[in-house]
């Protein structure tokens, strides 16, 4: 698969997977406003995935979006591994969302000037919607990090857990330098630096510490995933797989 295509799959799949994880809160979030927030953000993420899958289909010869989203097995997905992890509790979901959306804001901001025009157009569209996601993540992070002893401790724990998978957020496609040279992408190193600076300043301002970035999330671009992904995919694709060729 050519490396630009792989990159777009990485972006699209990450939105799709975290979109599904966020949607799992529907009906069971700790308070009503958070139920609505996670459902709304999930819908946005899935919409972003759809727009990127549509780009892959219309501009790059890939299958139609439904086929891409619902018929692949775990090893074919290219999402960042942090997104696929089983959601052990609300604190983990919130901090993952805080970290992930800070990154997506930076990533799509940088793609606004990509030399691939359709991708740049989508990046412009997504960026304005992601603003509401980062607003939500930032406010909750700040409130809980500055809250009680318990909330502080739980935020720190969730941060540490997420950071074990942090290097995987920046896994590079093969021959990434060519994409950088062609102005298609600014590259994962640049994104990592911007993200780490931003997160460090937010975390330290809240009196917490930034753990070192771990490698547990590496390998998704070459087919390695955690055991959390396939059960999630099986659930996500259950209706589609009852009759894959159904006309809706």
């Amino acid at each position: 698969m050519d490396n630009l295509k792989t990159l777009i799959y990485k972006l699209a799949d990450s939105q799709m997977i975290i979109g599904h994880r966020n949607s799992e809160w529907t009906g069971i979030a700790p308070i009503l406003e958070e139920d609505i927030a996670f459902a709304s953000m999930a819908q946005d993420k899935i919409g972003h995935a759809l727009a990127l899958y549509t780009l892959l289909h219309e501009n790059m010869g890939e299958e139609d979006p439904d086929t891409i989203a619902f018929s692949r097995k775990a090893s074919e997905w290219k999402n960042v591994i942090l997104a696929e992890l089983y959601t052990k509790d609300y604190g983990f979901a919130l901090i993952r969302h805080f970290l992930f959306d800070q990154l997506e804001a930076i990533r799509f901001e940088s793609l606004k000037t990509s030399t691939m025009e359709p991708l740049a157009q989508l990046a412009k569209k997504f960026s304005s919607e992601i603003k509401y996601h980062t607003m939500h993540g930032d406010i909750w992070f700040k409130n809980l990090a500055n809250g009680s002893q318990e909330s502080k401790a739980r935020v720190q724990t969730a941060l540490n857990e997420c950071f074990e998978y942090a290097n995987g957020l920046f896994e590079k496609v093969e021959d990434e330098q060519t994409l950088i040279n062609q102005g298609l992408y600014i590259g994962e190193e640049a994104l990592k630096n911007q993200w780490l600076n931003k997160i460090t300043s937010l975390v330290e301002e809240a009196g917490l510490t930034v753990a070192s970035m771990g490698d547990k999330g590496n390998g998704s671009l070459t087919g390695t995933h955690t055991e959390d992904l396939q059960p999630m995919l099986s659930e996500m694709t259950e209706v589609y797989n009852v009759e894959p060729n159904a006309q809706w």
Binding site: I36, H48, K124, S128, H136
Partner: protein, 166 residues
């Protein structure tokens, strides 16, 4: 040979005014700013470009079909092509004045005009569409649909939703 009247773009825009937002039934999508471009040619073929308000808008394909039907059903039109495009990224500044009034009449506070820099401040002390007060509280930046935020009016003691600035 019968002379075929060439239809004008204004005529098509006018007919597109019959396609309503499915969740706000008196709001034409033309007042929302979703129709980006209308072109007609000598043979009365029509080319329409539209864009979603939000990328995840679940009504997008339905609206595309309604737009197609509204124009294809006209006796004068020939081929009709409707394209969903991101050439122009929709933002809430594209809602017309008429659209804003329709939102208010419907009970939805319209979005503040903005310069691209959305911040929490823009969502605070929003005018209540029921009683006009600005003594209102933002309750959530998320609501019953992607485009809505939830507020509460301390004067008339009702909650209301706002079409949020994007």
């Amino acid at each position: 040979m019968n002379a075929i009247n060439k239809i004008s773009e204004e005529y098509v825009w006018d007919k597109l005014g019959s396609v309503m937002d499915p969740e706000i039934p008196m709001l034409p999508i033309t007042e929302l700013g979703m129709i980006i471009e209308v072109k007609t040619d000598e043979a009365n073929n029509v080319f329409i470009k539209m864009t979603p308000t939000f990328a995840a808008c679940p009504a997008l394909n339905v609206l595309k079909l309604e737009v197609f039907n509204a124009i294809d059903s006209l006796p004068q039109t020939n081929e009709v092509l409707v394209d969903i495009t991101y050439d122009v990224a929709w933002d809430s500044n594209m809602i017309t004045e008429k659209g804003r009034q329709i939102l208010k009449d419907f009970g939805l506070a319209p979005p503040e005009k903005h310069n691209g820099d959305i911040c929490i401040k823009m969502l605070q002390e929003v005018e209540c569409p029921h009683c006009g007060s600005n003594t209102t509280d933002l309750k959530s930046t998320f609501g019953s649909t992607l485009c809505r935020a939830i507020h509460y009016c301390k004067d008339c003691k009702q909650s209301f939703e706002q079409f949020k600035p994007v």
